[in-house]
């Protein structure tokens, strides 16, 4: 828990540091009643102060014995199912630009449904269901967005 919290605090301070570096470029017009730097400085300054205090508090405080180290905390985040879905989704967003929304969505849905189904359950029925669900979804989106709401598709 402690290593996890320290990691978060450090990352948080780095992000605020980057944001702080960006607001240094702000300039005030002569007619400005309130400085344009005031609010950003207040937010980033207070945020950084809280972050530093929390970092110090986390380091000084006795560690919480919850039996979980840094890697135990982060292990579920890289579970195969989660990473697979994330990878497929990123690939899907890239595919939209290449092959168009309707085809990319069909491919993504079928791929996702089949690959996420445990191997032991991958029967012909699973493939057919994936195909039907994907076709219905694409048809539904087309009908609602393009025909009814007259919106654009990606």
């Amino acid at each position: 828990m402690r290593a996890n919290d320290i990691f978060f605090c450090v990352l948080y301070l780095v992000v605020l540091g980057l944001a702080g570096e960006q607001i240094a470029d702000l300039v005030d017009a002569n007619s400005a009643v309130i400085s344009s730097e005031l609010y950003p400085t207040l937010i980033i300054g207070t945020g950084a102060a809280i972050g530093l205090f929390e970092l110090a508090r986390t380091i000084i405080a006795p560690p919480i014995k919850d039996g979980q180290g840094f890697f135990q905390y982060w292990a579920p985040a890289v579970a195969p199912g989660r990473l697979l879905l994330l990878f497929l989704f990123i690939a899907y967003l890239a595919l939209i630009q290449l092959i168009g929304f309707l085809v990319a969505t069909t491919v993504f849905c079928i791929g996702c449904m089949i690959l996420l189904t445990p191997r032991r359950n991958r029967s012909l029925m699973a493939y057919v269901t994936a195909l039907i669900v994907s076709a219905v979804l694409v048809g539904f989106i087309y009908l609602i967005l393009v025909v009814y709401l007259q919106a654009f598709l990606p």
């Binding site: 344009s36 945020g47 205090f53 996420l116 654009f152």
Partner: protein, 512 residues
């Protein structure tokens, strides 16, 4: 006022709007019943799709989804021992044991009726209190609004687990920092864009909200794919279901107390049904004559209390959202996003300038509960089926709907990439055990805080004294300080008493 009620009613009682509410309720019931998919996600999915609709249709549909999804959480809690939404976490404690004893219809009946009664009573409170609060809020200046934003953040930090309060503040500061990206309207300068042109208009609020909520939740949901679910089977009997209403009447005081708890917790900014159901359950256990039977699936009040409270929180949460523009919980935060998307800024001026819209919200709230009650009476076996829908079919469908929704807002892929980026941020925060809600509140309330602070300083000639001398602002600031200090003092008390005990034990041992 009468003409506003008529205008609101005529907006709701249109065939298309009624159909929209009914479909919204069914959609909400379906999504809410699936464990892991919350009302917030259900609304998040729908908000961008309603963008192209008339607001008179969009808001009632969203109200339908909101009511349906919150109340559907009880189905998973009772039949699966997994709450469909966090709002039904306490329902598991007695709902599932009751169902396991062969009384699933009783448990569902108690849950459904208490949800409906709690929700409707909260709706009545909403109708009575919101216009009064809006009148009070009309006298608010920028000092009070800025103080309210501070109060919102202190409220959520209070609800954080022990030792995590400051991290909640840090999460809020992440949101406030992200909200600063883009053009500063006062000075005409761009901030924190890192040279990226698309960032000059800042982050669109909805892709950020949807990404922060949907992606972490859907990624986490992949863990349950292929897992064996033991759903208790039910043989539905309408007469038996309706018979539970008598038990509800017999427990009217528990029902009323839980409803009041739900409304009060709902009104508190940033805290909603997720907490109220647990507090109401605890309160019912303390005051019940059958407290020894809690947890065994025998006491009706153990199911009634959490369900009445979580639905009552809905009405409560809408009060600050409509009157002050400050969301009561994550779902109303999404509703706030929907209003903003349609160019309507909730707050006291909403009651003055768009009174018909306020009544549209009120009336569609009650109509949604009516449809919800109808759906539960006649279609409960279908809602039950939603629990066992294989997750591998639901996840990609929801991801695609989110993608389409984010794109449809501005017709640009940049918003979709923002959706992914915010999703990854939410996933990181969730894994690091940092709450996501303060980030979203920061993004939503950041611009309001900045504008109000600027105005307050400009009106006060760069002085912060009016923050403390204006009665409204001073009261809100005192409340904000109290919400931080009271839990700290309460936590300290047991420590002090423990130290005293240790000292007395030590002195006693020395004496021996």
């Amino acid at each position: 006022m009468y003409d506003l009620i008529v205008a609101g009613a005529s907006g709701v009682f249109q065939p298309v709007t009624l159909l929209g509410i009914a479909l919204g309720v069914f959609g909400g019931l379906f999504i809410g019943a699936i464990p892991g998919l919350t009302s917030t996600l259900a609304i998040a999915l729908l908000v961008p799709i309603t963008y192209a609709m008339n607001i008179n249709l969009a808001i009632p549909i969203l109200m339908g989804v909101y009511c349906g999804a919150i109340s559907a959480g009880l189905v998973g809690a009772i039949l699966l021992n997994i709450p469909g939404t966090p709002a039904s976490a306490a329902t598991c404690l007695d709902g599932f044991p009751m169902a396991a004893k062969g009384q699933a219809i009783r448990a569902l009946g108690l849950g459904v009726y208490s949800s409906m009664v709690g929700g409707v009573l909260a709706g009545v409170t909403l109708v009575l209190v919101a216009p009064l609060l809006a009148k009070v809020a009309m006298s608010f200046g920028p000092w009070e609004y800025f103080a309210l934003v501070l109060f919102t953040f202190t409220c959520i930090s209070t609800m954080a687990p022990p030792g995590r309060g400051l991290k909640t503040f840090m999460a809020a500061f992440i949101g406030l920092t992200l909200a600063m990206v883009g053009l500063d309207e006062a000075s005409g300068q761009v901030r924190m864009t890192f040279g990226i042109t698309q960032l000059q208009s800042g982050f669109s609020v909805l892709p950020a909200l949807i990404g922060l909520y949907a992606i972490p939740q859907l990624l986490e949901d992949t863990d349950s794919i292929g897992r064996q679910t033991n759903v208790l089977s039910i043989t539905y009997n309408l007469r038996e279901f309706m018979g539970t209403f008598g038990e509800l009447v017999a427990n009217k005081w528990h029902l009323l107390r839980s409803t009041v708890i739900g409304i009060v917790i709902g009104i508190l900014p940033g805290v909603g049904p997720g907490l109220s159901n647990i507090v109401a359950y605890g309160s019912a256990k303390r005051t019940s004559k059958n407290s020894h039977r809690f947890g065994q699936g025998e006491a009706a009040e153990a199911v009634i209390s959490p369900e009445a409270a979580n639905n009552a929180s809905m009405g409560g949460a809408l009060i600050p959202m409509l009157t002050l523009g400050i969301p009561g919980d994550a779902s109303t935060l999404m509703m706030l996003g929907a209003f903003m998307l349609h160019g309507i800024d909730p707050g006291p001026l909403l009651f003055r300038d768009h009174g018909d819209l306020v009544w549209l919200v009120f009336i569609s709230y009650f109509v949604a509960f009516f449809f919800c009650a109808v759906a539960y009476h006649f279609f409960i076996p279908i809602v039950v089926k939603a629990i066992s829908v294989p997750r591998q079919y639901v996840i990609p469908v929801l991801l695609v709907l989110c993608t389409v929704g984010c794109y449809a807002l501005n017709n640009r892929m940049f918003d979709v990439y923002c959706f992914l980026g915010f999703g990854l941020l939410g996933y990181f925060l969730q894994t690091a055990r940092i709450p996501v809600l303060p980030v979203i509140l920061g993004i939503i309330l950041g611009p309001m805080a900045e504008t109000q602070l600027r105005l307050a300083l400009a009106f006060g000639h760069n002085s912060i004294v009016p923050f403390f001398t204006r009665p409204g602002s001073a009261v809100i600031l005192i409340a904000a300080i109290a919400t931080v200090l009271i839990p700290l003092l309460r936590r300290k008390k047991p420590l002090e008493s423990a130290q005293e005990t240790m000292q007395s034990e030590a002195s006693a041992s020395i004496d021996r």
